[in-house]
Symmetry: C2
Subunit: 238 residues, 2 copies
DNA sequence: CGGCTAATTGATAAATTTCAAGGGCAGTGG
DNA sequence: CCACTGCCCTTGAAATTTATCAATTAGCCG
């Protein structure tokens, strides 16, 4: 009855994307299975690989099954902005050609992902889901804008960590003690509009104040409620 | 044959939203008319009014016909971020309830707008359009993230002005000499993550360098190409 | 034990914010 | 017609935050 531990214990057929869609759409087993069946065979890619549009369509989704990715924009002088972060379970919207602008989706770690058959959104229990998935993605973009436009380094980092935690929880991962955070501080800085040096110092501050503990390849939030209050974090599932 | 001047000369039935959709979807007259017919009677609202979801649907579009609006997020301590700006011709996506997060769409000037009948997207020549409209909106959000995360005050302002110009051009306005810019410097600052004071100084810098000339309620870009190079601006229509 | 890459530190410079006032201009009412 | 009031734009000086530059340390893998 504990979905989290079931999902974790039976790694073999735990699929974070299916889990996420199941919860988001409040699907029953049949609906979840239908979505699972719409996933093409997973493909493995290494860090820095590019995720491209597929199936000869202007817009496709790829379900990220493991590893992290990011949508990246690079300026003429080499500055790099990670516009959007993707964690396991996310459905990454990839646009073909001109529609994508100058942004690229890149693997930030080694990843596994599968294309989503667009036909699946026609099926009755899933019709509303494409819309919902889009709305959530848009809200994340707006969160990112709020962080970059209005928050201090400290707030940005705290807010982002809370968001990443909630997103992983929404994909069925157990985040109660700690959650995955495989990004280097350089990448985190590129996402948060901060230099590596400053991000490092900000992270140290969070640790010194006992808001965060870093574990191997992961992070633990020691007082999420206070952190949420301090950084104006609003749960996605509000 | 000059669409711009035709549109301008016949103000009476110039509808920037119809014009924009017509171009975006490469519609013929019949298609454009079909879209025009899907617009509910326009409603007038004053500055600071809120645009709310309608038609008992989770997501609706409102076509902004005149005046400017913005999607706004307010933090607990009163800081305000304009997440997204809307100019005449834009189709503003408005989410109901929880889907919207804590963001609100607000009139930044007096405005006129009409709801879009969602049924219109089912019609054949327009099917692909909802997708395209969404993609463009998303690209604008990503532009905003890039500006806030990676650019200096000078670059941010220049980049945004170029974007606002192109968007108004895309809605059929003649932007060759100057274009509308009815926002106060305070609002511009709230959009660009800058204080009013700093925005003011940055604007003066752009003027001093003869990149920008301010006219009454409008702006003229004196050397758009150079400005685009300096600010890494990529046309939406690329 | 190298040889990486990532994390950390210290010192200094630059960008941006804050605070506090002035000035311009348009509409309003006497 | 003029003073008045309410925005909005503009300025100056000082304080903060964040970036830059340049090493140094820590960890991990073969």
């Amino acid at each position: 009855m504990n979905v989290v531990s079931l999902a974790r214990s039976d790694i073999l057929d735990f699929n974070p994307a299916v889990e996420r869609v199941r919860r988001l759409g409040e699907l029953d087993q049949a609906g979840a299975d239908r979505f699972a069946a719409a996933l093409f065979p997973p493909r493995r890619q290494s860090v820095r690989a590019t995720l491209a549009a597929e199936l000869n369509r202007p817009v496709t989704h790829r379900a990220l099954l493991s590893g992290w990715a990011g949508r990246v924009r690079i300026l003429a002088d080499g500055r790099r902005q990670i516009v959007e972060l993707f964690v396991p379970g996310d459905l990454i919207q990839i646009e073909a050609g001109a529609l994508s602008g100058s942004d690229t989706v890149v693997a930030l770690t080694d990843i596994v992902s599968s294309a989503v058959d667009p036909a699946v959104w026609q099926d009755e229990p899933l019709t509303a889901l494409e819309l919902k998935v889009g709305c959530v993605a848009t809200r994340l973009l707006r969160n990112q804008i709020m962080r970059l436009g209005r928050q201090s380094a400290y707030e940005r980092l705290g807010h982002l960590l809370l968001e990443l935690r909630e997103r992983q929880a929404a994909a069925g991962f157990d985040v109660r003690t700690s959650f995955a955070m495989p990004l280097t501080q350089e990448m985190l800085g590129e996402a948060l509009g901060l230099t590596t040096v400053h991000l490092n110092r900000t992270m140290q501050l969070l640790r010194r104040e006992l808001m965060v503990r870093s574990t191997r390849n992961g992070v633990e939030l020691l007082d999420p409620d206070t952190l949420a209050r301090m950084t104006d974090y609003q749960p996605l599932s509000a």
